[in-house]
Every structure is written in structure tokens, then in C-alpha cells.
Symmetry: C2
Subunit: 204 residues, 2 copies
């Protein structure tokens, strides 16, 4: 890993490089990320690039981590509430509303990166494994809390329930992106909703 | 659109070009698809390429259609059976088994292409809209049949049910690809399974 910036100016430069690389990936795919293109887009030189990143692979993996940081920061207030059916419903509503706001064009930044990069190399795949684990952790914790407090049946596998919810979000975002309508995301989440209601001790 | 080949030799050449482009996209992303690279990989010249495809965009959209043809051809026998809960379960099992066989590395060929290309241009996006519609059509027909024969409740929106199933497959394949385990696909399909059972006139 390259140097971690210690000054505000350094953090800004590193952030500008990451934003430029993320933008290139989103608009033209990962093969478009050449060091030349990143330098041009970020307005930095090769020595600055190499100060913060070991090489192109390190830069791309850093984009993955930065993207997860952004997605999680945006969802954090709602993810704190997923310890109840009502809290999970509010989180779902926010995901659908977000899909609407962006005109459902961008899809999921992490999922889209993962589809492109997941099969590349082991370190990059591992970055996505970590990314999805970080995203899923608050949901697993919330579901476990619901189980411990008796809201979910004791025989329910909360990890499986969290997995299917993550899959519904990812698949729903992909279809919403293609079909340009957030309905797809709402429909997708109905599967997770049905599984969640099945898992309740007393059906609503 | 370029010429449709009328001879076996022509079909073979066009197919070789499509395979080469699909392979480049899968291994290096869509930005790696230059006409030079496709010609080298397929062992054809520029004039042959332009005989079958108008330009690079036409080639890429043709890859989308060819990929859907392959996925649907592989699933066709099972898709004919999705007019019952048992038939849908067999289709789900085959999808999971397929994820296992490929070591869950490739993910969904259509979904992976869609994540990369869905936001590019309107004609390409439309190719994916058509692709998902063709894939979803037998499922919608099967669910409608189940509704007409009284197996599904009359108030169930079969299109929504099909949408959430497609989303579960796509999201599950993405997570299975990242986590390198087909369990993720099995878990993802449990959401669709729960929604499907909720829709039955008499719960199993």
C-alpha cells in the first residue's frame, strides 16, 4: 500500500486520484484505467500517483475500499436501525428512494465494480469480499438482535437471511439500472420482505 | 446491422468473432474490445469484421444477443417446466448446480455484461432490456399458468413475482462470484421461494 497522507492537502490529492479512477471505471470500464488517463483526469504527475499507490492494482483496490466507505457512510444512519422489522422497512424504502433519485441510472457502485473486477485477481476479489462483509455486518447484527429478543424464530439462520437480502438489493439495482425504473428494486426487495416475515415468531 | 451469414463457413466466422469479443469482455472488460484485439483473437481481417458488423457498437450489442441465446438455450428444457412449484424448484436447483459446476467463478454472463454496459448508450441498454425480457418471459408465462389454474392467488402480480426471482438470481450470482461459493445463490433463491410460497392459494 502507498503512503497514507498526513496533511489535508495530501488527503485531497489522494482523494482526487481515487475519484478520477472511480469515474473512469464507471464511465468506460476498468480497462480504461491507465495511469496516464488517471493522471490527466486528476491533474497529478506520476510521482504523486506512486507516492499514494504502489501500482495500478493497488489504486483499483483502493477505489473499491473508497466506494464502500461512501456507500456505508450514506446508509449508516439507517443501518443503525435494522434491529426491527420497521427499521428494515425504512432501510428498504431509503434504498428504493435513492434508486429513484439517481433516476436508477448508476445502479450499485459496489455491485457494478464487483461485476467488472470480481474475477480479476485474488487481492481484488478479497477487497470485494471485505466490502460486502462490511455492508452486511450491521444487518446481521440487527437480525441477531431480533432473534435474541424473540422477534425472529430461534431456528432461523440470520446469515442466510442477510445474504438473501444483500442479493435482492444487488439484483434489484442491476435490473433497475437496465430497465430505468426503481420499481424493479421495490419488487426485488419483496422477496427479502417475504423471507423476513416468514422468519418472524409471530407473523404480522 | 451487418450481413447475416448465409453459409456454414460464414456462420463459423461470425461466431468466432463474437466468441473472441465475448472472451475479451469477460477477461479484461469492455474497454479492452478494440477491433485490432478482436481481429487478432479471432484470426480475421478488418474487411471480414466489417462484413458481419457495422462497427464496434454493433459488435458489442451482438455479443449481448449471442450471450442471451446461449444462456436461454442452456436453460430451455427447465424453463419449459416452470408452470408449477415443483418445476420452479427444479429450475432453481439447476441454477445452483450450474453455479457449483463453474466453481461460481463466472457469475452470470448477462448480468456481468449488463453491469459493465448497461449505462453506456441507449441501443446497448435496450439490448439488455430485451435480453432480460426474453429470459423472464417463460417464467411469467409459467406463473400466469399457475394463476389461471388456481395454484396462485388471483390477487398476485405475476410480473412482480417474476421480477423478484430474476433479481434474486442476478444478485445471488454476483455474491456467489465474489465469495466463491454457490451457497450464496441458494440463499438468494430462498427469498424468491418465500415470495412464491406466499403467493400460493393453499400454502404447502
Amino acid at each position: 500500500m502507498g503512503h497514507t497522507p498526513t496533511t489535508a492537502r495530501g488527503r485531497a490529492t489522494r482523494g482526487r486520484i481515487l475519484d478520477a479512477a472511480a469515474d473512469l471505471i464507471q464511465r468506460h470500464g476498468v480497462a480504461a484505467v491507465t495511469l496516464d488517463a488517471v493522471e490527466r483526469a486528476a491533474g497529478v504527475g506520476r510521482s504523486q500517483l506512486y507516492h499514494y499507490f504502489d501500482d495500478r492494482d493497488d489504486l483499483i483496490r483502493s477505489v473499491v475500499h473508497a466506494t464502500v466507505d461512501k456507500v456505508l457512510a450514506a446508509q449508516e444512519p439507517l443501518l443503525l436501525e435494522v434491529g426491527s422489522l420497521a427499521g428494515i422497512e425504512r432501510w428498504f424504502d431509503a434504498i428504493v428512494a435513492n434508486g429513484t433519485r439517481q433516476d436508477a441510472v448508476g445502479g450499485c457502485a459496489i455491485g457494478s465494480l464487483a461485476s467488472q473486477l470480481g474475477g480479476q485477481d485474488e487481492l481484488t476479489r478479497q477487497a470485494f469480499v471485505d466490502a460486502f462483509a462490511r455492508w452486511e455486518a450491521p444487518l446481521i447484527a440487527g437480525l441477531r438482535w431480533m432473534q435474541e429478543s424473540g422477534e425472529l424464530r430461534p431456528d432461523v439462520d440470520v446469515t442466510e437471511l442477510a445474504d438473501l437480502t444483500m442479493a435482492a438489493i444487488q439484483g434489484g439495482l442491476l435490473l433497475a439500472q437496465i430497465r430505468r425504473t426503481p420499481d424493479q428494486l421495490r419488487h426485488a426487495l419483496n422477496g427479502a420482505r417475504a423471507a423476513l416475515k416468514d422468519a418472524l415468531t409471530s407473523p404480522p
